[in-house]
Amino acid sequence: MLNLLNLGKQLRKIGVWQVFLVVMALPTLLALLGVLSSFLHPDIESLSHLAQYVLPQTIKNTIFLVVGVGVVTTTLGVSLAWLTAVCDFPLRKFFVWALILPMAIPGYVMAFALVGLFEYTGPVQHFLRETFGSSSAFPDIYSYGGVVMALSLALYPYTYLMVRNAFQTQGLRSLEVGQSLGLSIRESFWRICLPMARPWIVGGTLLVMMETLSDFGTVAIFNYDTLTSAIYKTWFGLYSLPAALQVASVLLIFVVVITLLERRSRASQRFSQTRSAKSVAGRIRLSGVDRWLALLVCVLVFSLAFVMPVMRLLYWAVPNMNADITSQFLGYVAGSTSLSLIAMLMIAGLALLMAFTARTYNSPFAKIVVRISTMGYALPGTVLAVGLFVPVAAIDNVLGAMGLSTPLLQGTMVVMLLAYSVRFMAVAFTPLESNLLRITPSIDAASRSLGVSGIKMLAKVHLPMVKGGLLTAMVLVFVDVMKELPITLMTRPFGFNTLAVRIFELSSEGLWERAALPALAIVLVGLIPAFILIRKSDAR
């Protein structure tokens, strides 16, 4: 026991953990430096054109989009989480996990299905014209509202999952506190439950906003120009990678601002949970109209975000099903699944280590380093992929010059996993971080006084306390890796294909009828962890 304690102290002295933190942040730092180094070769001509004709509109669009999607996903995520975690209404048990499912649908697939259904040429407006002679009253899907809807339906599960974790573990408990203070349920919700769930809500919203910033596929379907579209246009249209990266650094400013706002919002607050999560009180039984309203909201969201796109995919996939389910296709499924599984375990493990380390060495240095290593999520995937590939190739070339047989790194799964961990560290870290906030210093003191300290304390005391967050992190990473495209495309070994790559290959040629099957497979495989998560978290 004493040994372990000493080990901890020694580690502290040498600073092994600080080194670990820095190593974790290094790849992201490399990619960020790559972006910033573009200022060494400023492409004034392209930049002045962009500044005059492109950036004003795209920056405005980006702000509107991030705010819109942030507000809608937070509203949806929090209310759905509250309903399913704390209240009781018909079919609640089904919606608990059903509402997670839209997460498995890639954003651009969601957008394509929505647009296909609601645009002027789609079946809904066609029906309106047939019946009423005109569909002009129907709102245009190719609009700000349309993009916000598509992205929100694809992204609200992030917030839902995280906030549900909070309400699940403390919602009923907080209500009891409220009741004992003589507050009504409504008052308790606004004054106790919601503020207490704040780290989770903010964390979920942060993830959604970063994902929105980096999105390209969804906004492209709506032809809604954001900073990310401007980056790609500059790179592939003006053939100026430096100018594209300079636009990307504007994007980074957005990320820094959002992160700082989040920091500020909870700088003065402390979150602790005093007793076990078990609650004596039962769920709130909704009565009368409320029951049906709650059901209606769930049905509406679930139909729009899941049933409708899946029906659309089935409609396309079924005719080609027999021809397309080949051993090759099963290979894609196996490739995607095993890749996601390995990445999930690795990234969740690293995030756990990082979260513990950052908590133990709660220094400004640690905080900054952790922030950096979670920034990869907001960079457009292709920029990040290239940003990481360039240094990896350079290392390989140096090794080659030293006489080793090359390429050592390129085309291996090591690079792939490294790049995934840069991209998805935020996804794994955020849910863990909010849960760690609940572990008070007094818990550490208590466990030490009982002779449990060092690594043993992490494993025996802390780990069980962050279990919910860890499960959330794992599901998020698993599904995100399944959907990931640019990194997979660039770093996959020859002949290795995933479902997401397959969707891209077919849909980029407009062959949605055949892209539907791999898309359905992603949804199907994504069901498994969602199901496990709910079984685990509801078992308590």
Binding site: N223, G237, V386, F389, T412, L470, F494, G510
Partner: protein
Amino acid sequence: MTSLIPFIKPVMPFMAVLLRLLSVRLLVVSALISLIIACSPSSEPVSDLALNDSAEINDAEPSEAIVVYSSRNEHLIQPVFALFTEQTGIEVKYTTDKAGVLIERIKAEGKNTPADVLITVDAGTLGYAAQQGIFQTLDSAIVAERVPAYLRDDSDYWTGLSLRARTIVYSTERVKPEQLSSYQNLGADQWQGRVCLRTSKKVYNQSLVAMLIAEQGETKAESIVSSWVANLAIPPTSNDTKVMDAILVGQCDVGIINTYYFGRLQTKIADLPLALFWPNQTAEADSGVHVNVAGVGILKHSKNAAQAKRLVEWLVSDSAQALFAGVNKEYPINDSVEVNPQVASWGHFKQNPLPLSQAYVLQPAAVKLMDRAGYK
């Protein structure tokens, strides 16, 4: 999978903790998955994940696999390579990605690139690749003989492999072909509120406008593009198929598309009330229909350049051409090759003979021009 173990080992203890947390159920699932991987007939590429795969490429004897990076999609190139392997016994390995990414990748890999050949779509992209210095010259008498000069690079760094025309599509119910004449004409008053265009972010439109600049000059081209924008019935669409869909339901009457998208829709809907119109054909001075290519170049650092050249020369041969173009309803690069009957039914047309390499030089100007004209 075994070669992964050294990399996973350090994180093993953590994985064990995580797995315990998730308990038996997930373990069963992962075991099942591993089983699927192990048993599936396609386990070859999956188990090739790690080091040995790339090492294999490196050790390759000159007569072994040619490695292709392609931005043309898998289902369009795979049958072609299969035929090549069948006819020559030479294996082809390939990976696909976006063109811009592949070019950056080749640059980063430098001398150690495993790739021999880059296949990509659009003359602008090919020109950019050449300008980035990743190609070697083709030096092929066969290519020079079979591919018309304006569909090849001036400096011999790349050659076109198939031809697509970007032309006008119109509603046969609401438009008479006599009303149409040229690309420029779509900006005329009679088309007010009747035109549909795809987004200017697509390289096909950037090349089209680049060629307009080449023949009309920038000022004239800008006023043409502005007049198109003024005639738009709906905001620019995200793809060519949507342009045709919009014409079908009556949102607009004319649009500009690549011919193969029309071909696909024609296959799906038998009595399609749409037709293609070949613009800029009548007057002697007219420039002809804007064409673009899918093309190929041999990489400067190819370790297998002789075989790569063999592939390129095979690709412009008659048997390869019919397949390469036919699989995507495009036109072969050489007139002598028989065109797919459906494609032939659209009729003959005069191509714009301006060298395609102009598309690269003028593309940034075209992008900026469209930004100024408010073409989104």
